[in-house]
Subunit: 121 residues, 2 copies
DNA sequence: CCTACGCCTGCAAATACTTGCAGACGTAGA
DNA sequence: TCTACGTCTGCAAGTATTTGCAGGCGTAGG
């Protein structure tokens, strides 16, 4: 297979990996600090096993890395810049959305880009 | 549903949309010029109907736009910057790949970012 | 009008992803 | 050592994507 097709396939795999709302929210949370599985699950209102399964996928592709401390497994982003890359995709949402208004998108972007912002949204 | 979750879902949809090797290669081709369905199919060595199906998906999400001329349907990127955003994802591939070497990735990036580059790869 | 071309859509089978649940494994504390 | 906790993994059912193929629709040319 020509290398261009290989590269396209690898790129597709990365996109597929991120293409899940839970995983996007997990990366969003991890952009600031590390979390153990349960804290992340609580924060996102998801079951522990579900979060663990997503993390295992992200771990397999080295999007996140693990640090163990006793019975806790703490996770952090291998390359924190990935969070900013994801937010950059918001540009391609704007102006053509059913359920999300422009102001909601802008406030989401602000949240992802600025740690000081209000996080209650 | 809180807006943050809505935004995560919409982002996930965009990622899902792009997460296919064929569609990535199509966007890559379309970054420079418009193509009609058959030319694109020939260029990428894919069947016409397959390309048409991918295009219909991209069209539905306004990643591409159509221009008709007789029986030909010409497609172009709605927001050409999307191609650059996709290439930016290459950063998260490097250094952890099975089938693709660093030099192949670099040459792929060069191709996407520079129209003058050799395209035989 | 008839035919060929270019493209689109519907359908059905194959494949892949997601999810909850049950059980396993290691660690900490009594 | 026994128990509880935190996390991981396997499995099976449900859901979504991908693909090829057959047929449809519009346009150009004879």
């Amino acid at each position: 297979m020509p290398s261009r097709q290989l590269v396209a396939k690898e790129l597709a795999d990365i996109f597929k990996l991120i293409a899940h709302p839970d995983r996007i929210r997990m990366i969003e949370e991890l952009r600031k600090q590390e979390y153990d599985v349960n804290s992340l699950a609580t924060q996102l209102e998801l079951s522990g096993s579900r979060v663990s399964q997503h993390l295992s996928l992200l771990r397999a592709h080295r999007i996140v890395e693990e640090r163990r401390d006793g019975r806790h497994h703490f996770y952090h982003l291998t390359q924190p810049e990935i969070a900013q890359w994801i937010v950059a995709g918001l540009v391609f949402i704007e102006g053509r959305l059913s359920g999300v208004s422009t102001s909601e998108i802008q406030s989401a972007r602000a949240l992802w880009l600025d740690n000081q912002a209000d996080e209650t949204g």
